[in-house]
């Protein structure tokens, strides 16, 4: 099998890269061993939310202009701030083509509410999380009702509201709670108390229940103009059904990301995969790249678990295999490795330096900053320290940034995927 561009890892970064390459006319395949981190993410795309003192960054691009100068190894520095910006708006267009509305606050970050009622700065959000009507309502200090299904085990409005009210922004806002009851499914087998967000999303996807839910929302929300619910308002028909619900209730309906699986993240995943397929890209799911052979300092082909000895060839290869979580990096008691090609990684030793003393340490954990060492083109280094010019590493696999502490996970995934694609397109074109 032969492609122009073969991408290992179908997460946020691999998909962005694949869509860009395939869209530019390169024959592109993505091999992915399992579902990616998008299934757990908030579904908002964080560019950079905090500075090195963990103070909130309001104008991310301005901040990055300064910051990348001081941090030349940071993935954003490799891309350059202009490319970062370009990549994000490329992504916005891609999602628009899939009829997914993404909103940003101009060049500034906005906040979204978390399941614990804290506020997180982010750059792009879905319509049910950020849009102008929502920010106006917040500014007006409109009354909020946080609603939840009775007995739903993955969201506890009580906890969130306490923290929200502690925030000066919400100090004079009136927040009420209310309980919804799952519509009668006609299926006595179901145990609604064990529903996950996905089960609830499927209820919202079914048009016949919307009227009943809307009635309940109206009743429970009272005169609140703003209704917040855990993010489970539909997965396939979310866009239409969210609008219908707003219409039926006459209220703004806001989604709060809750425990995994993340419906907001899965919507992104769906949209990106569908875009890639429509452009003609090949997605090979459930297979794992096991290794490859090099020729003349370049990667010649890779082989996978399912295809056995068959060789998958390409002009350029992208490694978007994620961090430890997704298997892009592996660790044992002695050290850290990149498992497919044993590429050079940036990590500390001994093991006791991998983590911080507190779990919720504000400095984050060093292991999140480990990854495959690359040059500015994102080419990794072979054993001899020379760059492999037809491999590009992107996303969470990269070192020298801490996605959680900086609030930069999605942005780095998109920007580096895009940056790699640009170079591949140039090389192949």
């Amino acid at each position: 099998m032969n492609y122009d561009c073969l991408i290992v890892g179908g997460g946020f970064s691999g998909l962005t890269c694949g869509i860009r390459c395939q869209g530019a006319g390169l024959s592109t395949a993505i091999i992915s061993a399992g579902m990616s981190a998008l299934h757990f993410s908030s579904g908002s795309i964080d560019l950079v939310g905090y500075d090195h003192e963990r103070k909130i960054v309001y104008r991310p691009f301005e901040y990055l202009e300064k910051f990348t100068g001081a941090a030349p190894d940071h993935p954003y520095a490799h891309c350059g701030v202009e490319t970062v910006r370009e990549s994000l708006f490329f992504l916005k267009d891609v999602l628009a083509a899939e009829e997914m509305e993404i909103h940003n606050n101009g060049d500034e970050n906005h906040f979204h509410v978390t399941g614990m009622g804290t506020l997180k700065p982010t750059f792009f959000s879905q319509r049910s999380v950020f849009n102008s009507a929502i920010s106006q309502a917040f500014a007006r200090k409109a009354k909020i009702a946080v609603l939840n299904f009775e007995g739903y085990r993955d969201f506890y409005p009580e906890l969130a509201i306490t923290n929200l009210l502690n925030n000066s922004l919400f100090r004079d806002v009136e927040i009420s709670t209310g309980k919804l009851v799952f519509p009668d499914y006609g299926d006595p087998q179901k145990n609604p108390f064990e529903y996950r967000s996905i089960d609830v999303a499927r209820i919202f996807d079914t048009i016949q229940y919307l009227d009943e839910i809307a009635e309940q929302i109206k009743r429970e929300a009272g005169d609140a103009e703003f209704v917040a619910m855990p993010a489970f308002i539909g997965i396939q028909n979310y866009k239409k059904h969210h609008q219908i619900l707003q219409m039926l209730t006459g209220k703004l309906i806001y989604e709060i990301p809750a425990l995994p699986p993340s419906i907001l993240g899965m919507r992104l995943d769906d949209a990106l995969k569908s875009r890639f397929a429509e452009l003609g890209g090949v997605l090979i799911a459930g297979d794992m790249v096991k290794g490859g052979d090099f020729r003349g300092g370049l990667l010649d082909h890779v082989h996978t678990q399912n295809y056995g000895t068959a060789r998958l060839r390409a002009k350029a290869f992208v490694l978007s295999t994620g961090s430890f979580f997704s298997g892009g990096l592996v660790s044992d008691a002695r050290g850290i490795r990149e498992p497919i090609f044993d590429l050079r990684v940036s990590a500390t030793s001994p093991r006791s330096t991998w983590h911080s003393p507190q779990f919720l340490d504000r400095k984050g954990h060093p292991f999140l900053e480990f990854g495959v060492e690359t040059n500015g083109r994102l080419n990794p280094l072979d054993a001899g320290g020379n760059p492999v010019e037809n491999i590009f590493c992107t996303g969470a696999l990269l070192p020298h940034y801490n996605p959680i502490r900086e609030g930069s996970g999605g942005g780095v995934a998109v920007a580096t995927g895009f940056h790699a694609a640009n170079q591949i397109i140039k090389a192949c074109g």
């Binding site: 506890y156 979580f325 660790s331």
Partner: protein, 545 residues
């Protein structure tokens, strides 16, 4: 200041203290127990959980060995749901002294511990994951014991018989009138209130902390703490206790404990000032895993869930230094006789599995002081939950509709009390902890009936957060339930959640690699990345959304 009157005051809610509380209650004597943290949060909750047959001590310490086998037989009757009669093996590996095998056989015979020599083939049938290179094997009546359940059911029974217990309450002073101890002053860390308890007898059952309690009473008792580390692996890799057949040393026991297996232990002297903050070195972990692997080779392929350590409270009766050499004999001190301080007893040493005997000895002494002639019945009276020999089939049928794995796990943890916990309401059996099958009904029961004040307590009663995910999904759910059940405010629930995750982190840090690291990355993403839990106390931001 609030004042409580009782007959006997017990300091320390470990196995010894709680066992004593129950013994007193069974004898109809009023008692109050004060525990600074949670029951079983001291050494009792930080050991190997081995229900010794005594074989391990047979060669070096015959007295302990005989105590063990006697208590072993009793506990198998009265604490059915807290112990598992797995049986145990002693195996000799090629590098071990082959002579020890014979010595052990002889000493066991002397101590009347059933000890059967079996072929390697048979040993491998009993324990398929055993190192096939083993040279010889012995079978002994070892078992496992769950300290959390054991202590919790002792307390449950005592409370149902009128005893009182205060957890998360420190004893800050021992009140004396002349040469007589008459009570203790306490500080409740939850309400931050001080109160006093008065009684005729004060029992110091505070384990390794006993030296400090003695000091509060103006008595000197020196203790040499010796730290032991253990690692927990993800699943139950062995079904019977596997011991190395050699002079007791590091890393030579693997105990199957509920859904996991535990490898232990090391032994290291520490300074008395270090007993609160126990650290675990990489070298200890390496020793444990390397030695564990020799007994069960598959261990090298298995995920390590946690590492933890406990301190053995060794009392300076002889001038001994090394933790393992001296007998872990039971030390019962009547301070009236030893130091001229009336109404004060110290009980320490011994083992988890001799807790009942220790409690009996202590209660006997207390009774003498109270002039009571009531006899001990703890060797006959089964603990709540252990009244009947549990037959899973019966319960599974009774609760048909609830997954067998849920019924079975609840039954395993609470014995016959399962009937008070589960119900056929869907809400009741919805799972909160998906690794250890803890359902909402069990959480609610524990919170309402088992002296649970926070998430860590809840973990000790139910195993919530003790499985492979170490609390990834369930800690948020359980914290939410505290608020939903109105037993804590939302702010308190938030605080509990943070504390719980930090408590889990302590045990994960030393073994943070492989799948454990992946799990930690995921959990960190959820709680910090997605929930911003670390920012909960951040002052509000000024700019608008």
């Amino acid at each position: 200041m609030k004042r409580i009157e009782t007959d006997v005051i017990i300091i320390g809610g470990g196995a010894t203290g709680c066992g004593t509380l129950r013994d007193l209650a069974l004898r109809g004597i009023k008692a109050v127990l004060i525990e600074k943290n949670d029951i079983a949060s001291g050494t009792t909750g930080r050991n190997h959980g081995l229900l010794h047959s005594g074989a391990r001590y047979a060669v070096n310490d015959l007295e302990s060995a005989m105590e063990c086998i006697a208590e072993n037989r009793i506990l198998k009757k009265i604490a059915r749901h807290c112990i598992e009669d797995t049986g145990g093996l002693f195996v000799t590996l090629p590098e071990d002294d082959p002579g020890y095998h014979q010595k052990l056989v002889e000493h066991c015979r002397y101590a009347r511990i059933d000890c059967e020599e079996i072929s390697i083939g048979k040993a491998l049938r009993i324990e398929p994951n055993l190192n096939p290179a083993a040279l010889s094997a012995l079978r002994v009546p070892d078992g496992t014991i769950d300290p959390f359940r054991l202590v919790s059911s002792n307390v449950l029974d005592a409370q149902e018989r009128g005893a009182r217990i205060f957890t998360h309450t420190f004893v800050t002073a021992v009140i004396q009138e002349g040469s007589r101890v008459t009570g203790v002053r306490c500080h409740d860390t939850g309400t931050r209130e001080d109160f006093e308890v008065y009684g005729q007898v004060v029992i110091n059952a505070s384990g390794v902390w006993g030296q400090r309690i003695c000091a509060l009473a103006g008595v000197e008792l020196k203790m040499f703490p010796s730290k032991g580390a253990m690692v927990i692996i993800d699943y139950r890799i062995n079904n019977v206790v596997v011991n190395r057949c050699r002079v007791p040393s590091d890393g030579d026991i693997i105990v199957p404990g509920d859904t996991v297996s535990l490898i232990g232990t090391t032994s290291k002297k520490i300074d008395y000032s270090q007993i609160e903050e126990l650290s675990i070195d990489d070298s200890e972990i390496e020793v444990l895993l390397a030695d564990g692997e020799k007994l069960i080779p598959n261990i090298s392929r298995t995920r390590v869930l946690r590492a933890y350590s406990g301190v053995r409270p060794l009392i300076a009766v002889s001038g001994d230094v090394d933790g393992r050499e001296i007998s872990r004999g039971i030390v019962l001190i009547d301070h009236a006789a030893r130091d001229g301080v009336e109404g004060f007893i110290t009980i320490a040493g011994g083992k988890l599995m001799t807790y009942r005997l220790m409690a009996q000895m202590t209660t006997d002494l207390a009774c003498k002081k109270l002039d009571s002639s009531r006899k001990c019945s703890t060797h006959r009276e089964p603990l709540p939950g252990s009244e009947l020999k549990s037959m899973p089939g019966k319960h599974i049928k009774f609760f048909s509709g609830i997954p067998q794995s849920v019924v079975g796990s609840t039954l395993y943890r609470h014995g016959e009390r399962v009937r008070q916990i589960l119900s056929l309401s869907k809400r009741n059996y919805a799972l909160i902890c998906e690794c250890e099958m803890v359902c909402e009904g069990e959480v609610e029961y524990a919170i309402r009936h088992l002296n649970v004040k926070d998430l860590v307590d809840l973990r000790r009663r139910t195993r919530i957060g003790m499985g492979p995910c170490q609390g990834e999904l369930c800690s948020y759910r359980a914290a939410g339930l505290f608020a939903r059940l109105n037993v804590a405010t939302s702010a308190e629930s938030n605080g509990m959640l943070v504390d719980f995750l930090e408590e889990r982190w302590k045990g994960m840090k030393p073994i943070l690699w492989g799948d454990g690291l992946r799990e930690a990355e995921f959990t960190h993403w959820i709680y910090q990345g997605l929930f911003g839990l670390g920012d909960v106390n951040l002052p509000g931001e000024e700019e608008s959304l």
